[in-house]
Symmetry: D2
Subunit: 260 residues, 4 copies
């Protein structure tokens, strides 16, 4: 059994450092690289791609709203057309750094509020996937299983990776509870067990105490969750103990098929 492990990376900006990228890169297999709109800058982007290459980690574009001060966590009524154009811009920037280091771009993962907006808005999801299909149909789109993004991707035959969020609560509909605040410190062992159960049993317990199905292609930890690197270590260790191999999904043409 295999699983991808993704994390947001490259969210430093100019003089400002953010996230334990160097530590986390040792555990993850796919890096969602900030595109410069919600965080990141060209220098940070290059360093992040170089770091990913060094660790054999695949890269994808983490495209966010143009909202630096709110870190892309502010909901914005940006039109589908603007989301589409801003994705192409950020994706191209990343692809050029990937080319610089002789790598390929593996995936697209919208950031924070854009991710959540797309999850409930078919038009935004379609704008994202149309952009992908126009420039590089082999890119995998990351999303929640319980989302409009997933439904639209399936309808449009776009390769998709469903995510298991290790550090977020789920509601009974299978959606994570989005927050603009940093979450509380979590217990690494509990988080690791939760992930293992999510992958082996395909279940997660919601905030209401119910068990729901959660078919997943990738585990996600947020780099600004307190103790993220410790969580990542525990997750990878427990996955190993349960004979689950952690490795990148690969681009569509290389994939062995999603778990569904």
């Amino acid at each position: 059994m295999q699983i991808d492990f993704n994390c947001d990376m490259g969210e430093s900006f100019g003089p400002y450092s953010f996230g334990a990228d160097e530590e986390l890169m040792r555990y993850i297999t796919s890096a969602n690289v900030a595109g410069g709109f919600h965080a990141g800058d060209p220098h940070v982007m290059r360093k992040t791609v170089a770091l990913a290459k060094e660790h054999g980690v695949a890269v994808g574009i983490h495209n966010g709203y143009r909202d630096l001060v709110g870190f892309g966590r502010v909901e914005m009524s940006v039109t589908p057309e603007e989301v589409h154009d801003e994705l192409i811009y950020q994706l191209g920037a990343l692809r050029e750094f990937a080319r610089y280091y002789d790598m390929e771009v593996q995936h697209v993962k919208p950031h924070a509020s854009l991710y959540m907006t797309a999850a409930r808005d078919e038009e935004i999801s379609r704008a994202i996937i149309e952009a992908i299909q126009k420039v590089d149909p082999d890119l995998v789109i990351y999303c929640m299983r319980a989302s409009a993004t997933y439904e639209v991707a399936k309808k449009m035959d776009q390769p998709v990776a469903t995510e298991f969020f290790a550090d977020r609560d789920y509601n009974d509909e299978g959606q994570i509870v989005f927050t603009r605040k940093v979450t509380d410190e979590l217990d690494p062992e509990e988080v690791g067990d939760r992930v293992v159960r999510g992958l082996t049993e395909g279940k997660v317990t919601t905030v209401n105490g119910n068990d729901i199905d959660i078919p997943s292609d990738s585990v996600c930890v947020h780099s600004d969750t307190p103790g993220a690197a410790t969580l990542a270590e525990a997750i990878v260790r427990k996955l190993g103990e349960n004979d689950i191999e952690v490795r990148p999904l690969g681009r569509a043409e290389q994939r062995v098929g999603s778990r569904e």
Copy 2:
């Protein structure tokens, strides 16, 4: 005889319109597309590439300093490494829109203060050309003949296009006099004659009244020069009257050789 005709394009931003792109695109053969740092945004970039395609105009990245309020005309002591990384970022963004419209990127032309800084600073020029050679060695770099950029490009075997500025004054060293202000209205017939003479005789008269050699691969008009479209019309008309064909340079692999 042939000549390329380039112009800065895509410098609108959000609600703000800038330059007579639609009119100018009818006359030029190479569009320097603003990269989003000194001007432009993703939506404007896409529209500009689409417009270029419609008119058979080649596109290149017009990479500027990160200075929106100063329109990239402020000199900035940005390090060579930052210039290098910011070029890759902006170039990638443009390349993705080119890919979107099934086009190729033809060239790199630094904008305003960055152009002038590179012209006198070998290190900055080298940073730009190293970035190009790493990601796409067939890109042509635009510069003045009398510049460090030209010298470094020659030394590094990078395809180069030297420019004849139709709407700027020259000093005796063959450099244009850079200005942060919009220039005065120019007489289209005079400008056209000046260009024709520059190409047929290879000479231009400087601000001091001297004639200097000005070997050129491309004519440039700035989109914010008052009456830019009228100037462009006059230039193309006069070039035609003198049997000089206006056409894009092409990427390095397609070029028939520069005029030198």
Copy 3:
């Protein structure tokens, strides 16, 4: 009978010119000066305050969301606390330029999406008015009569000016229909008559053809409505023909009382 006439001003930015400020300033009595978040910059702000002074026009802060590319027209889920802090910042900037030219700040008018959000959100309205009451309780807050902003202002005893939008359609609830697009060209005579009727009869006809009450302290025209200066001229001329004097509201301590 008297009425105030307000217009958004100072929305140029760096190299980008926006709105016919010089022409409009001849007709209006209150200028809503862009605070630099959705539009405007320090240089533009100073020039705008100078122009207002020259024409005897009162100034107020036009505070918008931090959204330059969307011109503050994008809805943003910014917290009340952030709206509060961003208002104080922008208000202070304007007050310093007013001080520079020996003027006072008269009013606060939130811009575009922030105006519309406040109109339906008590918490956002309260955050705005709390900021005002903390730093300068004599500032007048501009809003629609049919808005949460009006209700909260009344509850908090904050001086308020209700607006009649000359260039926007009304729904039956007395709210304007907000648009991110530039409106169509309007007939100046019709607009002038509509304003005169709005002030003399206190009525406006909605998009559904119904007449509703529209008690107003100030008329508003948007500077980017096509032909705004022509509309403004017609409005002022028709008001004059109907013996309605156009003059600034004044700060709370100078006001003769709102029309209600």
Copy 4:
């Protein structure tokens, strides 16, 4: 004997934390509050002013170039007029938060590259001081004794505070060696002794080993110098041991006169 102790504060931005403001505020007497152009945002500015008030620390505007990614450390050929307007804008923003907390603004201290540019450029210094004299002549301008800013301030009768930089090297001309990089860790005891000597003897040893005169009204430590809070503690302790009282300068009308 008395001395002021100033430090850059409020340089966090949105999600990005910067500097040990809370610890440092316990030692310093004057806070240079980032104006939002090189760092800081409205929320951070309000929190910083509140923190200063809580600790009885005076506030001044720390106005920088509009260069977030370069943290105001990039040299920019911004015109004197723009520097003038941008100072007024940032100063007004700070003054409004001071008003919010019933405080006064004490001083102006340009940041990083703007500070160094002003130090060698009379025109920029004059633009800054003209702005101050127009809006609030009692503001104290901080500068190096060996600077154009000092000379211009004296010529224009502007109250000035000369600085002793505890964490920077001096050249023989009495100017600090500016760096875009973070400095190495310094020994707190040595730094404290250096400050005490600077104040009691009025001397500092330069990078060339020479002793020069360094008359000072205020000691400065940079908040991003490694171990800044430890340095600050050592400085205040050693000053106390030498009977030098640390207290704010006060605005011009409250000052007992500079040390010269």
